[in-house]
């Protein structure tokens, strides 16, 4: 079985581990580029949201590379995402490709489980257990390395040093074959990041919360690698979503995540009273929390026509005002221009610097007057 799946940030690392430990050969398309997006957009319905097009592009490239099985989660979410796999696979079949589908939904876990009957080594249940352990360990390792890089980047002396160490660390984790190797590569990766040289700064970096639709936040090809761009401009970023959270949330195995989700829902209710099926609760509560933590600003990323985030977008100005925190909304589609986005980022950074200055050094939102 030559299996492939679409990219979302660094999720390919734990997902590859899961599948290869089940005996499948993983066909990993190159990280999405504008070519991927163009390819996907060519075959996708015109009005569908951008992540659909990127995923479809990933699938097309994987099929070119010889994948014979495509995997996708499906049906678990209220939004369009729940139908992605079903529609994408049909589009690809109509375009003449033949392949096997693995649509991982809540209803049909059994058949997904059994798909690997012929590929897994020895006992199928034991193989799943082993695969899952490596998967989880890798997801946590990726998360830890990303965090370290995020903290380091705004302070680095040589531009790009952090990103290089990050890449090296991640590829070590990706190559690790078992949990022991994951642990070693994690330790080495963290060590390499810690030894990236830093500069003394007169004042602490600007602190920015990044939130919005999950692909827009986590997939650098969609957001023009915003985390790196900001970091290298001396801004510390704090995404409220992560690959780890995305992977672990449906499994309900991490109590911290489950509780945080509940808290986020509660904080959102006064603004959006019902569940919309996207990340709206993380967007709303993330903005409020950013203000509470005294962050300098919030960047809200979402794909063109994204339903839940569009609703958030109409609600955010009220929170901006009530909590006195600036929010930059960035709407992304396949025509968004990198220069347009970076000009807006620069202006936003200026605005945050200005605010900090006029507030007299580092302040918390509570000290600021609203507005």
């Amino acid at each position: 079985m030559r299996v492939s799946f679409p990219h979302m940030g660094n999720s390919y690392i734990p997902l590859s581990a899961l599948l290869s430990n089940l005996g499948a050969e993983v066909v990993l398309p190159p990280r999405p580029t504008s070519r991927t997006i163009d390819l996907g957009a060519l075959h996708a319905p015109e009005f569908v949201c951008l992540p659909f097009k990127v995923n479809l592009g990933d699938n097309l490239r994987a099929l070119e590379m010889g994948a014979d099985t495509l995997a996708m989660v499906s049906g678990m979410w209220a939004c369009r995402f729940g139908y992605y796999g079903r529609v994408q696979h049909q589009i690809l079949r109509d375009a003449g490709f033949t392949f096997d589908s693995i649509l991982l939904g809540r209803d049909d876990l059994g058949s997904v489980f059994r798909k690997f009957r012929n590929t897994a080594d020895g006992n199928l249940a034991a193989a799943w257990l082993r695969a899952f352990r490596v998967f989880r360990r890798k997801a946590a390792a990726v998360d830890a390395i990303e965090r370290e890089a995020r903290a380091k980047r705004p302070l680095e002396r040589d531009r790009g040093a952090t990103s290089n160490a990050l890449e090296a660390g991640l590829s070590q984790v990706h190559r690790a074959r078992d949990t022991r190797e994951v642990d070693t590569s994690l330790a080495e990766g963290l060590e390499a990041l810690r030894s990236v040289e830093t500069d003394e700064r007169d004042e602490p970096p600007l602190q920015v919360t990044v939130l919005g639709e999950i692909f827009a936040v986590l997939e650098p090809s969609l957001n023009f690698d915003i985390e790196r761009t900001l970091g290298e401009s001396g801004v510390a970023t704090h995404p409220v979503l992560s690959v780890y959270r995305w992977l672990m949330r449906p499994l309900k195995m991490d109590l911290g995540i489950t509780l945080d989700e509940l808290r986020a829902r509660r904080a959102t209710r006064p603004y959006i009273a019902y569940v919309l099926g996207g990340e709206e609760h993380q967007t709303i509560s993330g903005t409020i929390n950013a203000a509470r933590k005294g962050h300098d600003g919030v960047i809200h990323l979402y794909p063109f026509t994204c339903m839940p985030e569009n609703i958030c977008r109409t609600v955010l100005p009220r929170i901006e005002e009530e909590y006195g925190i600036p929010v930059l909304n960035i709407c992304l589609d396949e025509h968004a221009s990198p220069t347009g986005v970076s000009t807006r980022l620069e202006a936003f950074i200026d605005l945050m610097r200005q605010r900090r200055k006029s507030a007299g050094g580092r302040s918390t939102s509570l000290e600021r007057s609203p507005g």
Partner: protein, 333 residues
């Protein structure tokens, strides 16, 4: 008497008879916004984000147009409409509508929110809280609720007979839908070769004659009878949708079921899907209909995308071309 403004948009087309009867039964006077016009649409667009679907922009325009005409604006929050064991809901924007209105529109009279969430809350409970807001005693609320359900049932049976919402409202409400009736004549008998073309799309698009550029009567003038999806009974929709993997959006399920029904009906000459620009659910369902539902032997299927920029000429050309195509393929047979 408190004047309650009801925007002529979105769920108005489905539930207005119930809402009106209910509100009047509670002693309110109901004011409906005028049918969509250019100024109203432009106002809506101006207060809305670019990439929001045109029906929500229309809703904003209608709500704003009621600003000085009502003491309160009625805004529905339609969350779930199907009882039953599976998880179904409407579109995020219908669920979040009051939140969006609150966030985007300033200077509106107070909002009267009405929740329809039959999976989690009885309609009766929603009516009760509406009555409490209006300061109406529970007993008269109860009567109002009962008669509103009655009127709504009559309305729905008129729709099942094939009437368009406006015509059906005139039948069941004492003073109609509160506007000059722009009801399309649906008599195609003058034409020597009448066609039947089914329209599959949200009622708030198809029946807003400004945004759809009079689609049903336009077809009519071309000698094609517009067959509306509201005349397909629920039982048929259920049966049809059971043939496909599940859809959780109730209204999209209707589109799927109706399309599947029409595409298999020998007396239907063509099916026109009417979708709104930037409509999230439609972008998925249109694809599912075109790829999973359409068969080689199905009658022609086309998609008409409507937005605030679609000109009359654009729609006219598309519709004429479609009718022409059907006629030609019929003559060949």
């Amino acid at each position: 008497m408190v004047k309650v403004g009801v925007p002529r948009a979105l769920s108005y087309y489905r539930y207005f008879p119930m809402w009106k009867t209910m509100l009047e039964g509670m002693g309110a006077q109901v004011v409906v916004s005028e049918p969509t016009g250019r100024v109203l649409l432009e106002e809506g667009v101006r207060h809305c984000l670019d990439d929001i679907c045109v029906p929500v922009k229309l809703f904003f325009g209608h709500a704003l147009s009621l600003k000085d005409k009502a003491d309160a604006i009625f805004v529905s929050r339609v969350v779930s409409v199907e009882k039953g064991d599976s998880d179904t809901y409407t579109c995020p924007k219908l669920i979040g509508l009051p939140d969006m209105v609150k966030g985007s529109l300033d200077g509106l009279p107070p909002m009267l929110e009405f929740v329809m969430d039959v999976q989690n809350r009885s309609l009766k409970a929603s009516v009760k809280s509406l009555a409490a807001t209006l300061g109406v005693p529970p007993s008269s609320a109860k009567n109002a609720f009962e008669s509103s359900l009655e009127v709504q049932a009559r309305y729905e049976s008129e729709l099942l007979r094939g009437l368009a919402p406006g015509a059906a409202m005139s039948k069941v409400l004492p003073d109609g839908n509160g506007s000059r009736g722009s009801e399309e004549a649906r008599d195609t008998s003058f034409h020597r070769d009448p066609l039947s073309i089914a329209l599959v799309g949200h009622d708030y698009l198809v029946h807003d004659s400004f945004i759809s550029h009079d689609l049903p009567s336009r077809l009519n003038k071309l000698g094609a009878k517009a067959v509306l999806m509201s005349e397909v009974p629920d039982s048929v929709i259920e049966k049809e949708t059971a043939r496909y993997p599940e859809i959780s959006w109730s209204y999209e399920k209707e589109l799927l079921g109706a399309a599947s029904h029409f595409l298999g009906r020998p007396d239907i000459d063509g099916v026109m899907m009417v979708i709104g620009f930037a409509c999230g659910p439609d972008s998925i369902i249109a694809e599912i209909i075109a790829r999973e539902v359409r068969r080689p032997e199905s009658p022609p299927l086309t998609t008409l995308v409507l937005d605030e920029h679609t000109g009359q000429a654009g729609v006219a050309t598309r519709v004429e071309a479609f009718v022409e195509l059907i006629r030609r393929s019929r003559n060949k047979r």
